[in-house]
Amino acid sequence: MPALHELQRAVYRSLVARDDDATAYIRADSVAAAERLCIYRNTVYVTLTNALRLSFPAVQRLVGAEFFDASAQNFIEGELPHGAYLDDYGAGFPDFLARFSPAASVPYLSDVARLEWAVSRGLHAPDATPLDLAALGAVGEGDHGRVRFVPHPSVSLLQASYPVDAIWRAVLEQNDAALGAIDLGDTPVWLLIQRLPTGIDVRRLSEPAWRCTSALCAGQPLEEAVEPASGIDVSALLAEHLTAGRFIAFNIKEPIAAAQALASVP
């Protein structure tokens, strides 16, 4: 008689590695043990494939449902979720697509997937109240350079070698004319992704503005974050970030961990 942990490991191996360890523990009568296990294996794969489908709709449209399902099956076999909160599942899918040789003919696919993952993270990020501008206004001028910001949890930054924002939008809008007009040899894109009350916002920044914003979101003090931004209007950029609610807290002394700052948000 197997101990519970032994049995659960055997079922895991049967469902994922398709060995028949668990069949010995299952009552086989009119229906074979393997066939009974197959019902569970099917549900696991269908559920996880659906979770990926929800997070990567443009990837699915680009490659078609059949190819997507086959890719998902491959990915799932190598990387099962580590928890039951499935909105968190799929972080590794863009890298998987980059390695997945059948997808090599679509060189921008993994970058589109990276954008979709950032969009998905943005959509599911916790709610947080944007920074109170009055509090920021109270900071003395001498301290401005030492201000460190905490980004809104829905904000992320992405750099891609292809115009993935245009591809993503055209694919989801099923706009073939727009898709056909995209020049893949176009310059790299520097993107900011954020959830707004109206929905997800994906916008292009200039490279210096993107580098400065990345530094700010990583918690670097203002005076250091502006270094890569020579030649752009940093105060205009900062004003845009603040107006759009991209920061939720600030600190003028020590670096603060985003989690600590979040805990103090009502």
Binding site: R27, A84, D87, A125
Partner: protein
Amino acid sequence: MTVRSAEWMKRNSIPAQAGIGLRFQHHQAVAEARPDVAWLEVHTENYMGGGSPLAYLDAIRRDYPIALHGVGLSLGSAEGLDLGHLERIRQVVEHFGPGLVSEHLSWSVVGGVYLADLLPLPMTEEALTVVCRHVEQTQAYLKRQILIENPSSYLQYRHATIPEWEFIAAVAARTGCGILCDVNNIYVSSSNHGWDPSVYLAALPADAIGEIHLAGHTVRQLETGHTLRIDDHSARVAAEVWMLYEEALARFGARPTLIEWDNNIPPLAVLLDEAAHAAALLQTTKRADRARAA
């Protein structure tokens, strides 16, 4: 910690009436039409993030009592509960102040990996000890009673020693948890394993039944000629399941009853129609109980 008034608690308790499982597809329809249904239940895992799902449910819950139904806590995992997941559940419970909180008598997690299905437990003394420990841990962590739901299953283990109905009754007796009696699951499992669903119902303690689930299932014809019933929540409640539901009501009395639908989700009106059928049977039960009392 959110402060709740007694009046608020009363308003949010789940009545012994018919409700429906709310899925994303119907967020907008429910928010706009405010259909005449007594309560709503959602999957806990769908509200662990922020943004639009949370905003919709915040708005909807002002007009409806809400129950939370978890699919991922894996109460039967030998390796212990995923404390990160338990904490996420606590946060959702704290946010919505649900009238009922439920989980399944099953397991999904092994080696830190989540197998996305409600996998069957061996009905053994060891599994009973593990489940009871985890139910107690969960109730202590959430500071409230939870309900556990009987699963539908497609296999039984050779070394099982306890009938499933005795197992679930024992969990309730030992931990003080309630039972979410899924009548469709009883029907599906009984059909798949050759059990008598009436024996199953009769073994459950009426006092512990806090909620009833109803859903549709499909019949799968296997190549060998045998059939298995698959609990896919993709159809109307089967006629045989409605009959078993009447038997459950006669045995337990009127209980909060939920219509679940998760695949090929139809327009809201279809769910409301199913709920209306359950509501009519609940009314009949209440009238019969009143007549008996008088």
